[in-house]
């Protein structure tokens, strides 16, 4: 059994960049253990800043952040990050890319081989473990990137518009797969997106954000059992959720 998810929170947090731009304004949000939450909003609304705060890549100008990445030293295996670009090392094979987080934690290639192989099989890249990133399609690169995030069995998974650069078909398939991987592990997942449909399909809870300065304008629970079947997309319930999110998003701008 994988370790359970972690709860994280922002308490009245503001972030002002060195350029003077107020990226995030007095934002409060908390994510429960094992929850799947989306941050939905236009570009420049501070969605990515929230993820960077929770991963410790950015620090708050005021307010407080509660996240595992900020505590303690030594190797980090609790928090994983998936970027919009696959962000693979072009000089390393798929296997070596997925090995990276464990390698940085001091684990040898031989000792992680079974784990890496298992995760590659799960994301559908079993035959590609010796391939180089340049030999993979966009969707496969993103699968490798997600495999790298999952290999440490993280308790918090942060995803920054990971499917934004993919085609519609690949995006829907990866979305369904992601829910499946999440259901098996129940790591707390925060998914940043600007797609209403993606947020509505994937999340248990959606925060709608607005720009200039970035802040949360609306919070919406989607009380539909999770993980969801792709058929959920065809229900009137899904359409109602999309309509409401769309209205809130419009209102926010």
């Amino acid at each position: 059994m994988a370790p359970s998810g972690l709860s994280v929170s922002l308490d009245n947090v503001s972030v002002r960049f060195a350029t003077g731009v107020l990226a995030l304004h007095e934002t409060t949000l908390s994510i429960g253990a094992g929850e799947f939450v989306s941050l939905l909003g236009p570009s420049g609304c501070g969605k990515s800043t929230v993820l960077r705060l929770l991963s410790g890549l950015e620090s708050a100008s005021s307010g407080s952040v509660h996240a595992p990445a900020l505590d303690g030293a030594g190797a980090n295996t609790d928090t994983a990050f998936v970027f919009q670009e696959p962000t693979l090392m072009p000089w390393a094979s798929v296997f070596d890319n997925v090995w990276l987080p464990l390698r940085l934690a001091g684990q040898s290639r031989a000792s992680v081989a079974p784990m890496v192989t298992a995760i590659l099989m799960q994301v559908g890249l079993a035959e590609f473990h010796d391939a180089f990133p340049s030999e993979l399609s966009g969707g496969m690169k993103m699968r490798a990137s997600i495999a790298r995030a999952l290999v440490t069995s993280p308790r918090l998974l942060l995803m920054d518009e990971p499917f934004a650069a993919l085609d519609e078909v690949t995006r829907m398939r990866l979305g369904a797969d992601l829910l499946h991987w999440w259901a098996e592990r129940r790591m707390s997942t925060i998914f940043v997106t600007h797609s209403i449909f993606e947020a509505a399909f994937l999340s248990q809870r959606v925060f709608v954000m607005s720009a200039r300065p970035g802040h949360i304008v609306h919070e919406m629970h989607i009380d539909e059992p999770s993980p969801r079947d792709p058929a959920f997309r065809l229900t009137s319930r899904y359409q109602a959720v999309c309509r409401e999110l769309s209205a809130k998003l419009e209102h926010a701008q």
Partner: protein, 254 residues
């Protein structure tokens, strides 16, 4: 196949043309010797030319090795301590822009050993492209990958070994291709300036010596060895680049 055949055929064609022109116009050997005569001269003088060749080769390879080590170490120091770069880059630029023929006489005065002076001259010419390229490469690490290494709390050694070195490698190899040719140019130029001052002499001194005696075929023979050396250095650095980058870097995937 035609990638190799075509350049070889072109070269052979040019040599034949050269031979025909010399024979047709009955040019005297002291003006322009035919390739066949150059080859014969090379064969007859090979023992003495080979000794000079070996000398030039030592200087060139030595300077290139020092340029690689020096260039990479200085680039690493600049990348680690930006203040150092601000302070020292002007010096590197001055060394780079000053024509080596102009400072070689000075270096020959200040440095006792001719060999060391020649090495220094060739090094000055060759190290800058390695320094400049490696420096760019060390700063070219992908932003997100850098964040990822931070997130996983990579140590600075891990960052250097697993992120910065592979990122900088293609840049370094591009610098090496330039520096390879430059180290040969540097060592020949410096030796031209040094003249026959040293007890040991390289190919450049042999060219000068032959020119004083109007032994044009011998000049060409020595020159052909220099060309051969340059081509070998070029091919070796290309092969190294292909071997190290072939599978993943766009520059080697044509």
């Amino acid at each position: 196949m035609s990638r190799r055949l075509l350049p070889a055929a072109t070269l052979l064609g040019l040599l034949c043309l050269w031979e025909l022109v010399v024979r047709g116009a009955q040019l005297p050997a002291y003006t322009l010797p035919a390739p066949s005569l150059v080859a014969k001269t090379l064969w007859n003088n090979f023992p003495s030319l080979a000794a000079s060749w070996w000398f030039t080769l030592k200087i060139t390879v030595g300077a290139l090795t020092l340029a690689c080590t020096g260039g990479v170490l200085i680039a690493a120091a600049f990348a680690l301590f930006p203040t150092l770069e601000v302070a020292l880059l002007p010096v590197a630029v001055i060394l780079q822009v000053t024509p080596i023929v102009a400072i070689a006489p000075l270096i020959l005065i200040y440095v006792d050993s001719t060999t060391a002076a020649l090495l220094l001259c060739a090094w000055i010419v060759a190290f800058f492209p390695i320094l400049a390229n490696t420096l760019v490469g060390l700063r070219a690490a992908d932003r997100n990958l850098t964040d990822l290494f931070r997130l996983y709390r990579a140590t600075s050694t891990q960052r250097l070994r697993l992120l910065l070195t592979p990122t900088a490698l293609p840049y370094f190899l591009a610098g090496l291709k330039i520096a390879g040719g430059l180290s040969l140019i540097g060592s020949v130029t410096a030796e031209m300036v040094a003249g026959a001052a040293g007890r040991q002499t390289g190919l450049a001194s042999r060219i000068l010596e032959a020119s004083f005696r109007t032994e044009t075929p011998k000049m060409f023979a020595a020159l052909s060895l220099l060309v051969f050396t340059g081509v070998i250095i070029f091919l070796l650095s290309n092969a190294l680049s292909r071997r190290l980058l072939g599978r993943w870097h766009a520059s080697e995937q044509y």
